[in-house]
Subunit: 96 residues, 7 copies
Amino acid sequence: MAAVRRLVMDVLKPHDPTLLSFTERVSETESVAGATTSLIELDQEVQNVKVTLEGEDIDVSAVEDTIEGLGGTVHSVDQVACGDRLVTDRRTLQDG
Amino acid sequence: MAAVRRLVMDVLKPHDPTLLSFTERVSETESVAGATTSLIELDQEVQNVKVTLEGEDIDVSAVEDTIEGLGGTVHSVDQVACGDRLVTDRRTLQDG
Amino acid sequence: MAAVRRLVMDVLKPHDPTLLSFTERVSETESVAGATTSLIELDQEVQNVKVTLEGEDIDVSAVEDTIEGLGGTVHSVDQVACGDRLVTDRRTLQDG
Amino acid sequence: MAAVRRLVMDVLKPHDPTLLSFTERVSETESVAGATTSLIELDQEVQNVKVTLEGEDIDVSAVEDTIEGLGGTVHSVDQVACGDRLVTDRRTLQDG
Amino acid sequence: MAAVRRLVMDVLKPHDPTLLSFTERVSETESVAGATTSLIELDQEVQNVKVTLEGEDIDVSAVEDTIEGLGGTVHSVDQVACGDRLVTDRRTLQDG
Amino acid sequence: MAAVRRLVMDVLKPHDPTLLSFTERVSETESVAGATTSLIELDQEVQNVKVTLEGEDIDVSAVEDTIEGLGGTVHSVDQVACGDRLVTDRRTLQDG
Amino acid sequence: MAAVRRLVMDVLKPHDPTLLSFTERVSETESVAGATTSLIELDQEVQNVKVTLEGEDIDVSAVEDTIEGLGGTVHSVDQVACGDRLVTDRRTLQDG
């Protein structure tokens, strides 16, 4: 199977655990070399966060298990990079 | 024949397989060194994704077979780079 | 536990201590390698500041203690980076 | 004669050959080190594409022959770089 | 005490001394490695300038003394960087 | 005399010679290391082009002779860089 | 005295001498390592130009003498960098 090198997800999570604990736990998932979370929006019930993960071969279902174990939901997967080479998405004339 | 070094496509795909499986499968196609997919838009039936591929000499019809085998359709080819040198598309005064 | 490598917070603080003293004190917190604060907005009572911290393994509760000891309140945690690799949040087609 | 180092053209081409075949053929033209094509717009009859070529001394009339042999028309030449040094067009205060 | 590595201030100053003399004098303050001033706005009475200072450990009260000795007023401190590492303020999804 | 290192001009030229021949000829002018031309606008009679030249010591009147010999007119000189060091024009708070 | 390392000025000058001669003469001023001028605007009487100078220790009054000797007027000094280190003006959240 091709190695998953980078993953960007849009996640909904409850306020508890905090964004800090959530990020620590996600980054501790086996196969994740680093995780960065950025707050998109928050309301009384949930936080909407952008999660960016990198690794040599990310075990995505383990990551999803971690997120769900923390009460979170993957709202959408926004970017996936696979293969031997980490390819950068470049802006083209067709991007909005 | 000139080597195809980079390819950017606009693809429509069903929700199943997921963007993750889709990207893994595309990146496993012989001749592809790496693949990155970015979600453009989704509705109830389909996902519209931008696919960026790099390789030393991409076998584009093999890639198209993979995409079609996964239920996807290439909506448009938005950028193609061929040759010994990978040429970057630079912004000019005529770009919109 | 995963190492916290970078932290961006939105903080409300009184005018006293000054932004300078506040930043010195936050950066002196054990585990913080450097701190940069940027003024977002100020009114008669409070300053709203963006705080960016980096370190090999930031002790976030010690940082929060420092901020609260200076009369400040963490209004929101806007970005957290954890893990062996410091992952950069990259713009995708889904960012607003 | 001065060496042509980079050329950017706005080209109209029929749908057949595809953008892929078109780019392969243009990049195979003697003197072309690499070619990148980007889709600007398409309608039922034609594709409007931006073609960027680089080489040590591009034989522009050979390139034009290739394009015309493929049914394409050079709508405008948008940028030309000649000489020993490849000079970058930099934005000035007079650019729109 | 933590070292102050960079400081950005919004300063109001009279027309005399000139921006040149003002900048020379500020940059001559003990502990300042370099100073750059940029004109924001001017009216008949005052100049509003952005002052950026760097040093290994800036003595901010000495800088303030210099500015006040030149008839200037620090209108606001807009950015402070302290610590062993000079941390860059990066744009997040929460920046306006 | 100080060496002219870079020159940006706004030029009006007839359609004949083509932008390609025009650029080749300008770049062949003694003292010019490289020339890049970018199309700004065209109407039935003339092409309006931005010409960027670099060299160790550009002979500007020779360049103007070349341009005029090709039927062109220098509409304005938009940027000139002279001296031992090639200084970059940086954006300031006063740029529009 | 602190060394002046970079200077950006907004200058009004007559059409004669040309921008080319003007820049050559300014860059020949003792202490100037390089000068770049950019056209901001022109009307029938005058040219409004942005002048950027760099040097190890620019003699600003000699530069002003050169400019005035050429019929020019310094309309405003927009940026001054002094000191051992050339400090870059970085964008902050308070910039307009």
